[in-house]
Amino acid sequence: MDFDMIARYAPLLLQGLWATIYITALASVIAIGLGLAVSLLNATPFRAMRWLCRIYIEAMRGTPILIILFIIYYGGPSIGFTFDAEPTGIIGLGIYGGGYFAEIFRAGFQSIPEGHIEAAQMLGIPKSRIITRIKIPQMLTLIIPPVTNQVILLLKESAVLSIITVAELTKNTTGMVAETFAVVEPYVIVALLYWAVVESISFLGRYLERKISYA
């Protein structure tokens, strides 16, 4: 364990860690927004729209993130999309995650007891209000665990962005390895860093759950 080496590369690794965190955060925002939109569109009465949503969701859940990134990063230019690695990575991760979040929201909407909605209808509350005042608040509590889970998944998948040269944590580690020839230690340290972030997100999720639940 060469502590000098670690000290020298600490800034690089921390920079990478920061990049990983904000990339994941941005991608999560995109993914949640996209997922919510798709899940609402999927509930419309238009069969074509539902069909499109279904295709999107299944495509994201059935394809590796690496290919999606490659399609956008290497294939994009041939149809006019030329982005830098980092924006590509964020957008790619966001689109990928959107499919998963759409499923989470769908399941969330479905698991609200029908009785609650019927009670609201009987009291004469209009449909739009039912959505905003009953469905969405209830759904929020139900979905905190899967949403937390999915954000953690996106964090872990963000490591794949290193393959399209995005300077996040894994890429910086690979850079460190190339310079120092110490192969195992850097990755182990970095693994622990990821692990620490993952555990923090889990912890945050459980805390949120407790604060929001009525128990």
């Binding site: 299944e58 495509a59 859940r61 059935g62 394809t63 590796p64 993130i65 690496l66 290919i67 999606i68 490659f70 399609i71 290497y74 294939g75 994009g76 041939s78 149809i79 953690i152 964090l155 872990k156 998948e157 963000s158 490591a159 794949v160 290193s162 393959i163 894994t170 580690t173 690979t174 390895v177 192969v183 195992v184 990755y187 182990v188 970095v190 693994a191 622990l192 990821y194 692990w195 993952v198 555990e199």
Partner: protein, 219 residues
């Protein structure tokens, strides 16, 4: 858009790549099943050191990126004297990863089996190992099949990462075809399509199996 031309010119490479992906994923999943079951029993063990160790393994393997795990295994093995081909390192890394996820799936299932069934078996004098094999595990698979199918799909997707340690599976095959055709968009879309096909087939197979297994349990 030369989709058709690319497919006809390179379909044998694509097929080989796809089979390699399927093979590597399959081996990892099967090994993961055996190890995962054992880990699951370790997770519910009353023997504190065992439980803690298993929980630690699960936490680490589920809480770190697959890519990083792959690098660690790939670079660590030669250092401890195991100079194995990339494909073996890939299988080891994938197996270690899926073991942790499968263990959690099995653990969830184990908790839903009524303890009374185990008690009845104990009173009849059946040994613990036999109880696990004849009574717990057969029920377990019916219970966890959906989650297991999801995990299989996840491993299949994760296998694309092993392209970075130069294993010629589907992803790497795609890269090689791109190097020849200079058509990244089409090639990668085709590769994506192949992954999608495999995964959707798996999901359908899973539903079918679920249906068949439910026959004995009409309640």
């Amino acid at each position: 858009m030369d989709f058709i031309r690319i497919i006809t010119n390179h379909y044998d490479a694509l097929l080989t790549g796809a089979m390699m992906t399927a093979l590597i994923s399959g081996i990892s999943i099967c090994l993961g099943m055996v190890l995962g079951l054992n880990l699951a029993f370790g997770l519910i063990s009353k023997h504190w050191p065992i439980q803690r160790f298993c929980a630690g393994y699960r936490s680490l393997l589920r809480g770190t990126p697959m890519l990083v795990q792959l690098f660690i295994v790939f670079y660590l093995l030669p250092k401890i004297g195991l100079d194995v081909p990339s494909i073996v390192a890939a299988i080891i890394a994938l197996t270690m990863n899926t073991t942790a996820f499968q263990a959690e799936i099995y653990r969830g299932g184990l908790l839903t089996i009524p303890p009374g069934q185990v008690e009845a078996a104990r009173m009849l004098g059946i040994k613990t190992q036999t109880i696990r094999i004849r009574i717990i595990i057969p029920q377990l698979f019916r219970l966890v099949l959906p989650s297991l199918v999801n995990e299989t799909i996840a491993i299949l997707k994760n296998s694309s990462l092993i392209s970075v340690i130069a294993v010629t599976e589907l992803m790497r095959t795609g890269q090689q075809i791109v190097a020849v055709t200079f058509r990244p968009l089409e090639v990668y879309i085709i590769a994506a399509g192949i992954y999608l096909t495999m995964n959707i087939s798996l999901a359908k197979l899973g539903s079918f199996a679920e249906g068949r297994l439910a026959i004995g349990t009409r309640s």
